[in-house]
């Protein structure tokens, strides 16, 4: 099987070789004949005659080299190429249809592959599992993203050697890193010493962590660099091992560089370096809870032993886990909780999920939209295939006589069918090639839509072998699918009937093409409705906005503790910077916020409310600490009660009050329309939770995590002794650049070594927080438009084809007195029928699909009547317009000409 293919590629060489061989034969024969007395000319003739036709020998030997089918295929291909070159417009339309479909599919697939499917580049990734603690309410302290567990639990699990070949834990963070010059915010991963050995990652140079680097807290100030960071920041210097870097001002020694292509286990947060968990106090300033069982901040992964399934390990771990919970609940430092909650704590269980792709909040966020997109591109590709199938059917009918003549001359139906199939495969491959060339640009555009964090995003927009294989497969499938209908068509029609038909008869494929166009219209309706829904979602979110005036509002963050400040010093620094910025003439007002807004993250806790009666919140409340100027700076209204004042921020010992401002969502959820003013709240839900904080104001709802979410929020005054890090929100006057420059100067004068993040306008941040929605809206609009275009082309093709076929009938009708209007109607009826049936198919389909998109929508239901009606009207108008052009042309037919056509 392989050899013929191999020969295919060296056909020219083999041919030359054979030529030489035959020439030798001829020359020898001529020599021999001449020696026996035959004159040269006669000898030449005789030698030629004896050997027979040289071309024929070449052909026969080629058959030997390539085997029959391959040679036939080669001929088919050559034939296809020739016939395509004769009809460039047809070819271009078909190739472009495929290029669009295949290019889009390949681009989206590359993202799906990278974000959702791609296994980690480590040893046997399919044996990795991620631990999760199910049934545990968020009562304990937790920070980070998902699946959070404590470091001591990881150490416990490492003892479970019956199930695991190893267990490691990790947490992503951002450190302030200096490699000699200024400090730069840098993505890092805090990992247990088992991280590299269990993953099976090798060093590029130097060594990686081992368990000994993680034994004693604070005892091993070492780091491992990522390959990418090493090559960009250290120019791949071979002597990097042993150099010192400053992590949050703490010197640490580089011991090695990880393997090339290993970018951590979270594709959304690519670390530049790894720090052992034992050094977490340095990596996370002020964090000294490494050995606290109740501080959950890391993800734990295990490598299953080869003979163990995740289910077996999960079941096998439960007895030990239960015992551990019971023991933990007896510990003196265990928090005092209600018996009910203690019961729930003891009933909680450990869960294992396969984690060959690692862990990624980005994947959580993107995988559903990506699958939806992938589905949409699949549909788009199907539409393109249908269009090409339609084109081929039309061409097949036009070529009907050629094909039937070939059949009559003895070509087998299989052979003809194969010819037609090779046509469509050739077009699909050409389209696929073009599409693959376009794909990187599409990918780059898609990736630009994705959120970019501090870490360099690891998503690639380049082609790789997997992608090429995918594109080739898709092209082949598309080629076969779109060639099947015409090929089947050629295989079934009666030869006699076809040959006796009059020229231009061949009704072939028209019914099939009608069905194709109907399906196209149905799919187009679905895509157009989708585009409208996502578009309306985006506009609704933009119209809603974050609830405050974003113009002239900028923000930036500083984190002095990461630069070696003590909490008290950091606080003093932040206060003085705040004062100076507030005093700038170009600044209207400035506020400090503990947790930045619109980043997708928030600070959450369940609370107890004491008003008429004592209640606990039924879900976590989003809380934040803000300086007194917060609401005025953002322009958020205080709808009841009062704003914070300077004295609120003072500690109670200095006359400060314990006060809070809640938002309207909080008031309406927990106060049923009564005024929350004077109510008291406390953090936590234990029976003895103190409700010492008085609600003094109600603010309008403003966005915290993102624009979409409307959630209960409680604001506390940023206590002057807790402002160790902060995000500044500054409302500026006049030109933005000048204001930013003055702020930079202030921060720089306060401490020249302090890393200052980028300044962002709030407009930009709102827009960034809507990236997913914008991507969905833009892409679905693109898909909808393409689909509409494809079906219009398809419909136009069918109607003009049927006009061409029915010219005689139309002429006859008109000769017998049919009006123009009646003629137009005759043809429009056809188009209207297809459109109506298409819409009739689409609407119930949309109904069944509504659950898929519901969660992505805002301010509009998946079956919104206005949207559906608008899409229906749009489809009807465009399809009728597309049909009207050929129909009108038909109505101008001169009956005499039409009848004379025969």
């Amino acid at each position: 099987m392989l050899r013929p293919l191999l020969n295919w590629f060296r056909l020219r060489r083999l041919d030359n070789d054979l030529g030489r061989e035959l020439q030798y034969h001829l020359d020898r024969r001529i020599d021999d004949l001449m020696r026996s007395g035959v004159p040269e000319l006669a000898a030449r003739r005789q030698a030629r005659l004896e050997i027979g036709g040289l071309t024929q020998i070449h052909e026969e030997v080629r058959d030997v080299w390539l085997t029959r089918w391959l040679r036939d295929f080669a001929y088919d291909l050559r034939f296809s190429v020739r016939s395509f070159l004769r009809t460039p417009l047809f070819t271009a339309t078909a190739v472009l249809s495929f290029a669009l479909g295949i290019g889009a599919t390949t681009a989206i697939y590359s993202l799906v592959d990278q974000v959702v499917l791609h296994a980690l580049p480590v040893r046997e990734p399919q044996r990795l599992v991620l631990f999760d603690w199910k049934g545990l309410t968020a009562s304990v302290n937790a920070f980070g993203s998902y699946n959070l567990l404590s470091y001591p639990l990881c150490r416990d699990l490492q003892q479970q050697e019956r199930f695991f070949d190893g267990v490691f834990c990790r947490a992503a963070t951002t450190i302030s890193l200096s490699t000699g010059g200024d400090s730069v915010p840098t993505a890092a991963e805090i990992v247990s010493g088992t991280y590299f050995p269990v993953l099976g990652v090798q060093p590029s140079i130097g060594r990686l962590f081992t368990s000994t680097d993680d034994d004693v807290p604070g005892a091993s100030p070492v780091v491992v660099l990522s390959y990418d960071f090493w090559s960009t920041q250290f120019a791949s210097a071979a002597d990097v091992v042993g150099r010192k870097v400053l992590v949050n001002r703490h010197p640490m020694t580089i011991i090695g560089v990880a393997a090339r292509g290993f970018r951590g286990i979270d594709i959304g947060e690519v670390p530049s370096l790894w720090i052992p968990a034992a050094m977490s106090a340095d990596a996370l300033p002020g964090f000294d809870q490494l050995l606290n069982r109740r501080v959950r901040w890391m993800q734990i992964f295990g490598r299953l032993r080869t003979d163990i399934t995740p289910a077996e390990a999960q079941a096998g771990l439960q007895p030990w886990f239960k015992a551990m919970l019971a023991e933990d609940a007896r510990r003196p430092e265990f928090p005092r909780i209600t018996p009910d909650r203690q019961q729930r704590y003891l009933a909680s269980a450990l869960e294992l999920t396969p984690a060959a792709q690692g862990h990624s909040p980005l994947r959580r966020r993107l995988s559903q939209p990506l699958w939806v997109l992938f589905g949409a591109t699949g549909v788009l590709l199907a539409l393109a295939c249908m269009n090409v199938a339609g084109l081929f059917l039309a061409r097949g009918s036009a070529r009907g006589r050629e094909i039937f003549t070939r059949l009559a001359l003895g070509a087998s139906r299989g052979r003809i069918g194969r010819q037609l199939l090779s046509d469509s495969i050739l077009v699909a491959l050409a389209g696929g090639l073009l599409g693959t060339l376009l794909a990187p640009a599409v990918m780059a555009a898609l990736i630009a839509f994705l959120p970019r964090e501090v870490a360099p995003n690891a998503l690639q927009s380049s082609l790789n072998p997997r992608l090429l294989v995918f594109a080739t497969l898709v092209s082949l499938i598309a080629g076969v699918l779109s060639g099947l209908a015409p090929a089947a068509q050629a295989g079934t029609r009666s030869l006699m009937a076809a040959l006796t038909e009059r020229a231009g008869g061949a009704a072939g494929g028209l019914r099939l093409r009608r069905i194709i166009v109907t399906v196209q219209i149905a799919v187009t309706v679905i895509l157009v409705v989708g585009a409208a829904l996502f578009g309306r979602t985006l506009f609704a979110l933009i119209a809603k906005g974050p609830g405050f005036d974003t113009s002239n509002l900028i923000s930036f963050g500083i984190d002095p503790v990461r630069n070696g400040y003590s909490r008290a010093d950091a606080d003093r620094l932040i206060q003085s910077i705040h004062r100076e910025i507030g005093a700038l003439p170009s600044v209207q007002s400035a506020a400090i916020v503990n947790n930045p807004l619109l980043t997708g993250g928030s600070w959450n806790i369940q609370m107890t409310i004491q008003a008429d009666q004592r209640v606990t919140t039924d879900r976590e409340v989003r809380i934040n600490a803000v300086s007194p100027e917060f609401f005025t700076t953002l322009g958020a209204r205080i709808v009841a009660g009062r704003d914070f004042v300077e004295s609120d921020a003072r500690p109670a010992t200095e006359g400060g009050l314990c006060v809070a401002i809640v938002n309207e969502a909080f008031a309406s959820r927990y106060f049923n329309g009564r005024s929350p003013l004077g109510g008291r709240v406390g953090l936590g839900t234990a029976p003895d939770t103190k409700t010492a904080v008085e609600i003094v104001g109600v603010s309008a709802n403003i966005s915290y995590r993102g624009v979409r979410e409307e959630w209960e929020q409680v604001y506390f005054p940023l206590a002057s002794c807790a402002a160790s890090a902060g995000t500044f929100y500054v409302r500026i006057r006049g030109p933005r650049d000048a204001a930013i420059q003055s702020i930079r100067t202030i921060v720089h004068q306060a401490d020249p070594t302090l890393p200052l993040g980028t300044f962002r306008t709030l407009d930009e941040q709102v827009s960034r927080s809507l990236t997913t929605e914008r991507m969905l809206a833009a892409l679905s609009a693109g898909f909808g438009a393409l689909a509409l275009l494809l079906s219009v082309v398809g419909l136009y093709g069918v109607v003009s084809f049927s006009v061409a076929q029915r010219t005689r009938e139309i002429g006859l009708r008109m000769a017998l007195g049919a009006t123009r209007l009646a003629t137009v109607w005759l043809l429009l009826r056809d188009a209207l029928m297809m459109t109506t049936i298409g819409i009739a198919i689409a609407l119930p389909t949309l109904w069944t699909l509504r659950r898929v998109v519901e969660s992505q929508l805002y301010g509009v239901t998946p079956t919104d009547p206005t949207t559906l009606a608008a899409a229906t009207v749009l489809l009807c108008t465009t399809t009728l317009l597309a049909a009207l052009i050929p129909a009108r042309r038909a109505s101008t037919v001169n009956p005499a000409d039409a009848l004379r056509l025969e």
């Binding site: 030489r20 030798y24 034969h25 024969r29 027979g52 020998i57 026969e60 030997v61 030997v64």
Partner: protein
């Protein structure tokens, strides 16, 4: 005098080529000459069909081919039997002998005439 020469029976050309090459490697023209000599011009072979046969046998790995200097000093493509080819020749010889014997038996005893 075309009737004096038999056309070569279907499928025997391959066997004859293998037989000739079992003596010593030869180039295409040499094989044609040998066939002519051995069959004493009784069997008519179309020289044109020799080359497809050679390439078919080479494709099946029964022959191996290499370019080297011929007796006239010019480069020619020489074919030689491989181990697999030798085995194939033995098998075909055997088959042929059995077939010939069977046909002979039918001629000797069978038939009403």
């Amino acid at each position: 005098m075309p009737s004096a020469r038999f056309p070569i029976p279907q499928g025997t050309l391959d066997m004859l080529i293998l037989q000739i090459l079992s003596l010593e490697p030869a180039h295409g023209y040499g094989i044609a000459q040998r066939l002519e000599q051995i069959s004493k011009s009784v069997i008519q072979i179309n020289q044109g069909s020799l080359y497809p046969a050679l390439h078919r046998l080479a494709q099946k790995k029964w022959l191996k081919a290499e370019w080297r200097q011929s007796e006239t000093g010019r480069d020619a493509k020489f074919y030689a039997l491989t181990a697999a080819g030798r085995k194939q020749l033995a098998a075909e010889k055997d088959d042929w002998a059995r077939l010939a014997r069977a046909v002979q038996v039918i001629f000797d005893e069978g038939g009403p005439c």
